[in-house]
């Protein structure tokens, strides 16, 4: 929505409050100067809030916002005094952490956030307060993190500043969010039940009148049943249907057309006409249609709410999984005494003790002890993994074995878990293209429906005034585009949450849709199809011994993190001489001075360059890494990197889903050919630099291919970015960079294989839903306009189609296991 679209039109400025959009009661004469004009305000609360915003120089908010804020009417009075309570340390204990001596950080939950401009307003306003050092607000979760200096301000002053601009901030407590969700679900369920009871009984009264032949039912009884129906419809109208009125009113005040507008119009019109007929004793009643429509529509929304909450639950569980406290070792190797500290106060290089059954509070390395670790929450891997001294453990995983001492490596924002949560939040932020299109279509559609309804009313009024009401009500009800607007988000929400449980983290909204459309799957070899942990297989030497060659190569390579360098170091003897003036040539090798000899370790050309002599052919026993000095080549090292056991499954799954697997690797011809033949990949290229890979992907795209890139997420970032959709293998770097659209947390290629089949199913379900919703409206609208659809039938048709769409999406969650190889094409 464009900025400023919500600014109240000049003509209406005397009727609606400029700040909150509510009508200004007559007799109230308040105003605030905004943007050089006096703007009407509906109450003292709005006046105070708008005044505070303008005084702070933040009136840009009124240009940016695309929705009205909640009215502060009931928010302001005497709350401000109560806020002082939050300055007391014992109150702060639960939600405030101390990053440094004078600094405090609090988690708050904000109420009243309605659009991104609210975020901007709050962030700017709070950041301007003296003593506030940082603030960050999350739009999806409405959570804010504030940091301040205790020497110049207090938490109550910050809360008061937020209150002053019309929002309410409370300490964030996961329980209160859960309580809010529970309240929402209970509330909707009660409304649904009231509507359901009303519907059953009103039907009981209605059915006899449909079937009674003339004269079999006395006038008295019919009147009695009408009055009873009216009595039972009143609570449905006043209580159950409330959400529709509220959202229709909000849409109308914001000068938009939402799908609840025709709904509210239809039920109000039908109810008033029926009540009038009951009162006067003349005309038709439609109580049965009204209650049934309300019931069915609420039913569809209830199912949708449940599914949405379930999908959000996984994210919620993840962000809550880190324990609040940790056992810090006071004087580790000497003794095992611990103190209990908050997890937030741990620093790098602290040691913590994690007992069996406890959750690791941070990322770290095991310093002492062996244990089994359950990482199921993060990766979906259900078997506990054995970890020994020196192995890495991830915050949020659970210790299932023995007590271990962990050396803290990453804390707070930098942990793997918070990176995962951030990426999931990003996915929740970004709206898939498909959904944007359907939302736009639905908005136009509603406008069209209202126009058609008006035209229909006019037409039938001229022809047969008796028929106007039932036909117009039927048109309004039957064409509600609820099914259309629910079709995509439901299916994607369910699919995303299921994928996450299976170890495939979706980090961008479009990822599922694009992966499902992909025609070419570009696979990286090292670290993706292989274990990424090469081992030294053979050493070919010229003049010196094998041990000596390894010793020199290890000296040069010791500082390098490259997997091949590590393989050499692992195989080298214990005594490695020191290396000086080490120079790294990325993509080629390393040069260094060892024992007064200039040595190079790297690929063939790089190594030969040093001696300026160019052997025409690599000597027999070609390897991947060469050791050379100024007099010529010294040794060649061959490596072996085993293919993952499930790589074949992935390639088969890609084929089964109609994709073409392509292997691009930086390794030499022999190795890549061997891997490609083993896996049955016909299309492969060897000795490719990241730039070559990127060009290759570009060429494919120029031919109209939708390319999915599957890589390790570290060395091939440009290729990942070039491809339409990218999947990275789980690694800390891949998470931190967040370049990939999906991250395979479990590291199991079978999960990815299933994920591919699964995204195709998701897309096909979205298509089914859209086809159904559009087809239904196309058929129903002309029938209703022509007068062939009664209001009760319209209710069943419309609500039934919404329900069908929701239930169809739910199928994605209920399937136990997707058949990975033959799933699609059936």
């Amino acid at each position: 929505m464009s900025s400023g679209s919500i600014a109240v039109a000049a003509g209406a400025a005397d009727k609606l409050c400029y700040h909150c959009g509510l009508p200004v009661p007559s007799g109230v004469n308040l105003s605030v100067q905004i943007g050089g004009e006096a703007r009407a305000m509906c109450c003292a609360g709005c006046e105070a809030v708008a005044g505070a915003i303008v005084t702070a120089g933040l009136d840009g908010y009124y240009e940016r916002r695309d929705r009205f804020p909640d009215s502060p009417r009931e928010a302001l009075p005497d709350m401000v005094q109560d806020l002082r309570v939050f300055d007391r340390p014992e109150v702060q204990a639960g939600f405030v952490t101390a990053p440094s001596e004078h600094e405090r950080e609090a988690s708050l939950i904000l109420e009243g956030i309605t659009c991104p401009a609210c975020i901007w307003l709050n962030e700017t306003h709070v950041a301007k307060q003296p003593g506030v050092t940082a603030i960050n607000i999350n739009y999806t979760t409405r959570r804010a993190r504030v940091r301040w200096d205790t020497r110049s301000t207090g938490l109550s002053a910050i809360l008061a500043a937020i209150h002053a601009i019309g929002y309410r901030a409370y300490p964030y407590d996961p329980k209160s969010l859960e309580a809010a969700q529970k309240r929402e679900a209970r509330n909707l369920l009660t409304r649904l039940a009231i509507a359901g009871l009303g519907m059953m009984q009103v039907m009981m009264y209605a059915v006899p009148t449909y079937f009674a032949e003339d004269g079999t039912m006395t006038r008295d009884i019919e009147d009695l049943m009408r009055w009873a129906s009216l009595l039972l419809t009143v609570p449905v109208m006043l209580y159950s249907a409330m959400p529709f009125y509220r959202s229709a009113l909000r849409d109308m005040l914001a000068r938009r057309v939402g799908m609840d507008v025709p709904v509210a119009l239809a039920i109000i019109a039908a109810f008033i006409a029926s009540a009038w007929a009951t009162w006067t004793g003349e005309g038709e009643v439609y109580f049965d249609s009204v209650v049934m429509f309300v019931f069915l529509l609420l039913g569809a929304r209830y199912i949708e709410l449940r599914a949405r909450q379930k999908a959000a639950a996984h994210l919620e569980v993840l962000s809550r999984t880190v324990p609040a406290t940790a056992n810090r070792l006071l004087n580790f190797p000497l003794c095992l005494n611990t103190e209990t500290v908050t997890a937030g106060s741990l620093g790098v290089h602290d040691q913590v003790l994690v007992r069996p059954g406890e959750t690791f509070p941070v990322d770290g390395r095991i310093e002492q002890g062996d244990t089994d670790v359950d990482e199921s929450l993060l990766s979906g891997e259900s078997r506990p993994l054995a970890k020994k001294e020196g192995d890495r453990v991830v915050g949020g995983s659970v210790n299932r074995g023995h007590p271990v001492v962990v050396q803290v490596e990453r804390v707070g924002e930098h942990t793997t878990l918070s990176a995962i949560v951030r990426l999931m939040e990003r996915a929740a932020h970004s709206r898939p293209r498909l959904q944007e299109i359907t939302d736009r279509v639905a908005a136009h559609f509603v406008t069209a429906v209202l126009a058609v309804a008006a035209a229909t009313a006019l037409f039938w009024y001229l022809r047969d005034a008796q028929q106007v009401l039932p036909i117009v009500v039927a048109v309004l009800i039957v064409t509600c585009p609820c099914a259309l607007s629910m079709a995509t988000p439901m299916a994607l929400a369910v699919a995303t949450s299921r994928a996450a449980k299976q170890g495939l983290l979706v980090t961008r909204g479009h990822a599922i849709e694009t992966l499902a459309r992909a025609t070419h799957f570009v696979l990286d070899k090292t670290g993706t199809l292989t274990e990424g942990r090469p081992v030294l297989r053979n050493v070919t030497v010229t003049a010196l011994s094998r041990q000596e060659a390894l010793r020199l190569a290890a000296a040069v390579e010791r500082g390098s993190e490259h997997p091949l360098a590590r393989a050499i170091c692992e195989a080298a003897p214990a005594s490695v001489p020191p290396a000086e003036s080490v120079r790294n040539f990325p993509g080629h090798g390393i040069e260094a001075l060892v024992e007064w000899r200039r040595l190079r370790v790297g690929n063939f050309d790089f190594a030969c360059e040093l001696s300026q002599r160019n052997p025409q052919e690599p000597p027999q026993g070609a390897g991947t890494v060469w050791l050379a000095e100024e007099n010529g080549l010294l040794a060649a090292f061959g490596f072996h990197d085993a293919l993952r056991a499930d790589a074949v499954r992935l390639v088969q799954a890609i084929r089964a889903n109609g994709g073409q697997p392509i292997l691009l690797s930086g390794d030499n011809q022999t190795i890549v050919r061997q891997a490609a033949e083993t896996l049955g990949i016909r299309e492969w290229r060897a000795e490719m630099s990241p730039e070559d890979k990127q060009d290759y992907v570009k060429r494919l795209q120029a031919q109209g291919a939708v390319v999915a890139m599957i890589g390790d997420g570290v060395n091939d970032a440009p290729v990942l970015a070039q491809a339409q959709v990218s999947v990275a293998m789980m690694s800390g770097a891949a998470l931190a960079q967040g370049a990939a659209d999906m991250v395979l947390l479990s590291g199991r290629l079978t999960d990815l294989a299933e994920g591919i089949a699964y995204t195709r199913r998701t897309l096909s379900i979205v298509r089914q839903n859209l086809a159904w919703a559009i087809g239904y409206n196309v058929i129903a609208l002309p029938l209703a306009v022509a007068g062939y659809v009664t209001p009760w039938f319209a209710g069943i048709g419309m609500a039934g189609s919404s329900m069908l769409v929701v239930l169809n999406a739910m199928r994605l969650a209920s399937e136990r296991r997707v058949r990975p190889l033959i799933a699609v094409g059936d």
Binding site: K182, L189, T190, M200
Partner: protein, 56 residues
């Protein structure tokens, strides 16, 4: 058919009563978790090995 003059008002009263009972049931949390109890009754509390199923 005179009994209908009694039965119809009675049915209205009955529906309101049922509505109140249902309202109470929702308020007291009977519908908050519709799946948990079905699983819980099947779970052994005395199993030695920690269970991998979702905890409720």
């Amino acid at each position: 058919m005179d009994i209908l003059y009694l039965l119809i008002p009675l049915s209205v009263v009955l529906v309101f009563l049922i509505g109140i009972v249902f309202w109470w049931a929702v308020r007291s949390g009977q519908f908050d978790d519709l799946e948990g109890p079905a699983h819980r009754i099947l779970e052994d509390d005395d199993r030695a090995e920690p269970d991998k199923r979702e905890k409720r």
